[in-house]
Symmetry: C2
Subunit: 958 residues, 2 copies
């Protein structure tokens, strides 16, 4: 045992498949028809079909079953083997019509002595009976004939093909929508299985036609037939015959066996093909699996290439390179001035056309609307905060214009147009500190800011020229995940913080009579006696202005008027707006959860796929519209989106251009290089790590990255924005991820049962440009936008934050803490790294995140991007704590310092990355091939072989 | 082919397994150890184990994989077969220690000439190396040694068993918690696989010990070893050896092969066992399945009985009868007076003790609290409505007392104590009409009601005596589903209707100064000029009473006081309570969705099973507590649950006992029999159909039904309640279903990977009794109950309504309308009934439901239960529209009229019911057994067999 080992079939297969393999064999569509007896009438009724997986006709249900993996019995495979051994095998038969082919088959059988000549007519008669195919009938028709079809023996949902002898496809065939599921070059193999009363032993024929030929109504679709398998036998073994039919049909759609069938020279080649198949089958023990369970097709089936490679036919297909998306240089280390920038441009130029043409897709509309709403919400939020921080030197208006300008330029010319630029927290804090410094030191803020911007731009360009972006090689999954989790957290917490509105919790319906809010004239306000039962706090105004206030009826003033004229608002109802807090909560949470549900709806069972994927793509827009509608119907006074409607600087005393000289002493121009350095680090880190996240391998980007080009434009835009007095912009992680998510492509499923595959992202510049152009013209859209309540938009923010956390391995690992080991999912890193090491790794990440979060909440936030460098240092130190093996599974390997090692490390890294990306691959993907072994049933061919139970096993030949 | 047919192995297996089969063989636990080389050291390391499914040691991950179906290669099975053929087979070896057994094995090998005597020492040495087992280490320990264990070659998470030769189980073994997953009588089979350098061909031994013996640290658990399989071989084929080891291990845990292994007389019996296994395996084609995917254990594995029955050993196990739960008489048609009642009592008496003892379980606490809250909410709702309808002749107080009384008696003495009694809609409408009739005709309502109750009681008793409950045989799934869907709808719509509160939609925060609600003195009210900007509607009071109202400061009065003293409430804030509508919505919907989520949490991956099932069982209580807490924290004035706190009739002018005579003329006593008839039908239908739903086969009730006994007590309670002036009670469908759902039992999973099975319901009287006793004493619980907001309770109602819809086939069929055929789930009725017939059937049900709903919404609701009879008529008419075949799949077959046919029909019905309950069973469950067939590899045993490719196949022997 384990020893008498040489697979006889291998030699044959090597020979026939080893011939020049330039023309791939066509895909086979297999249809199995069984002979039905209806009184004296006989006809062939379609009972199953295979494109890749099996679909069975549910007799009673008159429908196709779901596609499923064909579970065969070992017995049927062996019987099939015997069938091929004993039956007629007609290869390369010159047949142009079914009657002629049938004649040839019968002639051969008679010639071989397998049937008597007296049966010739009978067999031909049976084989030329009509073929009835399973067709789906539209539901309205079937509802119409519901009343009468009760118990009727003839089945109206199935059509008879009346022209079996014609060589033109019938209209039934042409109308069959199933055709689109079959590859265009496909050929058919027909399996005919029947019980007849005139035979006393089975009649078996395997036919390969010299030319694929349309044989009338034989096949349900107009696909020319290449193979025919016929099994007729005496009554009583229908189930067995059926299983044999399923076995040959399953074999015919097997990639390797179909090659064999196309190239077989004789019967023994076919047997060798069956033996190879048998050698590769997967066996489930009968006590651990119920054969009645239909197994759903797996997400991914192994390619037959591995099996073919055993036959030394072709090497394993090279992993075709999406590697360009990985590192900033794509492997080419051209060491020249601006080398990286030059390479980036070279990489981007060939895509110029497709950068626009690929944008024309319905998905883009959804993406544009979604990202646009995110951008203007961001612009308004940051604009408001910047306005507060800089006494309106930069306000909402500047925010809008800056976003539009920077975004459009970057998406048009940047290296990675999927990145969305936005204001970010650290910049905001920097501006705030800078303004305060200027105010207390009487330095002109705008001029200083311009100089900082110019210095920073220069520094960025130096970084570009020196190819400093290669540092991103050290940004591994550890750093990536830490950064993006943090940003997502901030997004989520900001969104939730916005939802705070006061609720009047002491309101008692019975005392409604004492609730009010009155406007009191200013002179009155001071000596008014409190009348209510201690429930009336007084609200004073900070700045009473001087107006002509005599003759005013104070009690008739509205709140705003009261404040304007310097009155005091008095009463326990003043600071509350009823229902506001709760309606906001409902809008906020409702938008979020509806978006999540609609996204999930994409994979539900209801409605056709197209409809569902449309709903899934537009889920955010639909949710926003629905909740805007609810808000409108309820008519409550929720805070709305108000965009500025006039193009003028927020602060009237500033113009659109900032002059570089004149307001500050000369040394300020030089000294501003120091704060500029901080801004540069801030910009550099924020930009590059966001780009790394966008360029993640999981996103399958095809057009490559452009770290140097990105940084170049961010630098240039800094200078431009500084001159115009607009805020500075840098890549926004969460919105960029949302942008990518909304542009993901999936393959349309081809063969029934095949799962759609993630193909990549619609990489183009159109959506980005449109988003920012729309942002620019938002000023004219104000009448529409004012219907959008802010809680709805914060709900969108919450969704963005949560969605960008999804699929991060860090989160999966955090969840592991809460799961007992036996319930944990089968992650590949869990198979290879002990759980406690995984937990430790996660713990380090959590601690880092906690430290960063704490820093972010203090004024130290300004050095926050520098902390990313800290993360990279922590990661480097983890090399001491974890083995490289563990890190390869949980993270990536850091590049080594000296050149040689770097190469090895990189190779290893790539290798490991591939492994980590394929969670199914249990062991090393390229393990040495197993030695050739022979399976015992080959002894059937060699009856003279010595009895293995007596002879001791011999040495293996290898 | 399909013809050379006789399974050689069958004869052998029939012989050895056919012996008297009184003692079942023990369950086998299989452990596979592989030889590890650590420098010069060698040791056996556990690499996989099987209880029923395979668990593999993840080497890198140092953990057990999830239990999965063993996917084998056909190749390894054939190699195993050769191994058994060529190696040493030692059966019934008298071994008491491992060294002795090893000696015996080696001796035999030397004697057979399989190894040279010079290898004796070396082989023994290897086989006696220590065994290292995979143990899970508690996480706190592993965190402690995290720092140092980096890259260390010795693995601290694994313990070495140092006492391989001892015959006492080691402490490591005893401590192993895995023991509880192994059946108590289990024996072990050990598989030892290793590569060594001194052998040039494999060393194979299969050993069965005469007595199962604990062989020191051989096995990870203290289970005595019965079988040993050893495979040592030269280096280089480790993977092959491993697969052979997995193959024998999988065989050993196969039910049939383990029988064979226990009873085998010689090597050939084992081979026959392997052949039988091979004949039954399920084969997956290599192109359609990835062997690396670990297949999760199926929900249910086929029993080996079917395979054994092929060997004519035992007949298929009889379907053991839960049939008693089906019809009212359980099949025994004793035709005597009160026969049904007598049978019911006979059926119930044996369970008296277990009716109480089975109630002691933590699940009962949750069930009691849940149902209690449902009951008091119902009591308060119906009490309030009844009070309105009868001018408080029956109010909340009567509702509480009546519920407590009727419920306690019924749960203590009724036939089906899982049924919860409650007031129902039709009764409410009847009372309302009756009271109006009495008022307009000056008849005493309470006395008339007493007489109706007495008549109705009498009629119920007549129905009991005449066994009228047998009518429920005609209540099929169609009627059941229609009724329970309708009741659930009513539940849901009532719950949602309660959620309406007005929202002040015109409130503008800016005009807060004009919002108020003032109390105006009555004389002032009429000539007050409107001051606000048309926003101040005036609210007048319906009944200004006369008080001493002089000297009141009207503006200081609360709303209630104002109304009390006859003031007018004036202002636009009067009719609104801020935030009330939305907080109610949040409480209502929050309670519902949290309950749903917590129920789902039961099947999530997080936290240990026990913890999850506790959360799942208590989901409703947890949700209620959480939302009561939220309500309390927000402190808003939401409507709360207020129960009466004093035991006295709601209307002060009635006492606790109603006198039968004196207030109405004599003919009223007689005439009341007519309305009583309506009440009787109402009660009978409502009660019996609810009981049918509770007794559904899916609930797997074991204690049988008691339709007659139920009706008996409902009748008696009617009379009692009528005397006491309490409402009438009848089974409440939705709450009863909720009661059952909260008492469902699942088997604790035994072997790793086996799915827990639904075992049935905790059938006992304790929970019901406790619920109603608690309802009775609720009067004293008022201080606690007043913290529960009504929206939370209506949320519970919503959950009850939705949950009782779940799992109804009708709903599954409605969903089919929305699904494209290819996405529809694999329901068994879809395999056997054409989709358009299914849709038609569903359409009829929907129309019936719509008609019933319309009727229910009108005054015709009073004849609503009679409509159920209408449903049954519709069902009868559907016999004309649908074939019996279709109806058998979609519904049940109606019993025929004459006795003989009835029996057939019943048989058929039972038969079909069984089919419908097992959606996996594709074809008729008891199809004729397939004829015995022989698989070709048997030719290995017969080298002289004629070449099948030359000889034409012969006739089958059968």
């Amino acid at each position: 045992c384990v020893l008498n080992i040489s697979k006889g079939f291998l030699i044959r297969l090597r020979y026939i498949l080893g011939e020049d393999d330039d023309m791939p064999t066509p895909t086979l569509f297999t249809e199995m028809d069984t002979l039905q007896h209806d009184g004296d009438e006989m006809e062939w009724k379609e009972s199953a079909r295979w494109v890749k997986f099996e679909e069975k006709v549910e007799e009673g249900g008159e429908r196709w079953s779901k596609p499923h993996v064909s579970t065969l019995t070992l017995h049927s495979l062996f019987e099939l083997r015997t069938c091929i051994q004993t039956g007629s095998v007609l290869l390369d038969l010159e047949g142009y019509s079914l009657p002629q082919i049938v004649d040839d088959i019968v002639d051969r059988q008679v010639a071989d002595g397998l049937i008597g000549p007296e049966l010739r007519e009978k067999v031909s008669f049976v084989l030329l009976r009509k073929h009835r195919h399973q067709h789906k009938k539209p539901i309205h028709l079937s509802l119409a004939d519901m009343g009468k079809s009760n118990n009727s023996p003839t089945n109206p949902a199935q059509s008879r093909s009346m022209n079996d002898i014609s060589d033109k496809p019938s209209t039934d065939q042409m109308k069959n929508k199933f055709m689109k599921k079959i590859p265009r070059d496909a050929e058919a193999s027909n399996v005919l299985i029947g019980e007849v009363d005139f035979l006393d032993k089975p009649f078996v024929a395997f036919v390969r036609l010299a030319q694929a030929t349309t044989l009338g109504g034989l096949t349900e679709v107009p696909v020319p037939t290449r193979f025919l398998f016929v099994l007729l036998g005496p009554h009583g073994k229908g189930k067995s015959y059926n299983e044999i039919g399923r076995a040959i049909a399953t074999l015919m759609v097997d990639d390797l066996f179909s090659d064999v069938a196309y190239k077989a020279r004789d019967r023994d080649d076919l047997i060798a093909g069956i033996d190879e198949f048998l050698d590769e089958v997967i066996v489930l023990p009968p006590g651990e699996w119920d054969p009645k369970i239909r197994i759903e097709p797996p997400k991914k089936v192994p390619s037959a290439d591995m099996r073919k490679s055993v036959l030394n036919l072709n090497e394993l297909g090279q992993v075709n390179g999406t590697g360009t998306a990985g590192g900033p240089g794509g492997g080419e280390d051209e060491e020249m001035f601006c080398g990286g920038l030059w390479l980036d441009i070279k990489r981007k130029v060939p895509w110029i056309l497709s950068d626009f043409s690929q944008g024309f897709h319905i998905q883009s509309i959804s993406a544009v609307l979604f990202i646009y709403l995110g951008c203007i919400t961001n612009a308004i939020t940051f604009g408001g905060l910047l306005g507060d921080a800089t006494d309106n030197y930069q306000g909402v208006m500047e925010s809008f214009l800056g976003t539009a300008l920077a975004g459009t330029v970057f998406c048009l010319l940047g290296g990675q147009p999927l990145i969305i630029l936005s204001s970010t927290g650290p910049i905001l804090i920097f501006e705030k500190l800078l303004y305060e410094f200027c105010k207390s030191n009487t330095i002109d803020y705008m001029e200083l800011r311009l100089w900082i911007g110019l210095h920073s731009c220069l520094q960025c360009l130096i970084l570009v020229a020196t190819d400093a972006s290669y540092i991103i090689k050290y940004i591994t999954r550890f750093t990536e995940e830490g950064f993006s989790s943090l940003i997502s957290f901030i997004f989520i917490s900001d969104a939730i913080k916005k939802m705070y509105y006061p609720i009047n919790r002491v309101f008692k319906p019975d005392y409604v009579t004492t609730y009010r809010c009155e406007c009191i004239a200013p002179d009155q306000g001071d000596h008014l006696s409190v009348t209510g039962p201690t429930l009336l706090p007084r609200v004073y105004l900070p700045s009473p202005c001087t107006y002509n206030i005599t003759g005013l009826d104070w009690s008739q003033l509205s709140k705003k008027e009261c404040v304007k004229y310097g009155g005091a608002l008095l009463g326990n109802a003043c600071k509350y707006v009823p229902d506001l807090a709760l309606i906001s909560f409902i809008l906020f949470f409702g938008t979020y959860s509806m978006t999540v549900s609609l996204k999930k709806f994409k994979t539900s069972r209801y409605f056709p796929t197209k409809c569902r994927s449309l709903v899934g793509d537009f889920s955010i827009i639909i949710s926003i519209l629905v909740f805007c509608g609810i808000d409108y119907l309820l008519g409550l006074d929720t805070p709305k989106l108000h965009v500025p409607t006039e193009v003028k600087p927020t602060r009237p005393d500033r113009g659109w251009v900032v002059m570089p000289f004149g307001k500050n002493p000369w040394w300020v121009y030089v000294a501003s290089a120091v704060p500029a350095l901080l801004v540069t680090i801030l910009i550099f880190m924020d930009q590059q790590i966001s780009a790394v996240i966008v360029n993640r391998k999981e996103n399958k980007l095809k057009k490559g990255c452009g770290y140097h080009l990105d940084l170049f434009w961010v630098g240039i835009l800094m200078a431009v924005c500084s001159f115009l007095g607009l805020p500075w912009y840098v890549a926004a992680t969460v919105i960029s991820i949302a942008h990518i998510d909304s542009l993901k492509m999936e393959s349309e499923s081809s063969a029934p049962g095949e799962q759609p595959q993630f193909l990549g992202v619609r990489e183009q510049r159109l959506t980005g440009i449109l988003v920012f152009v729309l942002t620019g013209v938002s000023i004219f859209l104000a009448p529409v936008l004012q219907y959008i309540p802010m809680p709805v938009l914060y709900g969108v923010f919450l969704y963005m934050g949560v969605a960008s956390l999804a699929g991060i391995q860090f989160w999966e690992r955090i969840k592991l803490y809460l799961m007992p080991a036996k319930h944990q999912p089968d992650f590949s890193f869990l198979r290879h790294v002990p759980l406690r090491r995984v937990h430790l790794f996660t713990l380090v990440q959590i601690i880092c995140l906690a430290v960063l979060w704490t820093l972010k909440s203090t004024v130290a936030a300004i050095i926050f991007p520098v902390m990313i460098l800290g993360l990279m240092v922590v990661r480097k130190m983890m090399d001491l704590m974890f083995s490289q093996h563990d890190l390869a599974w949980l993270d990536d390997i850091l590049p080594e310092k000296d050149k040689k090692k770097e190469k090895d490390g990189k190779k290893k890294k790539d290798h490991k990355r591939t492994k980590a990306a394929e969670p199914e691959s249990d062991e090393e993907p390229k393990s040495p091939l197993p030695p050739p072994v022979k399976i015992p049933m080959d002894t059937i061919d060699l009856p003279s072989a010595p009895d293995p139970s007596v002879t001791p096993p011999t040495q293996p030949p290898v």
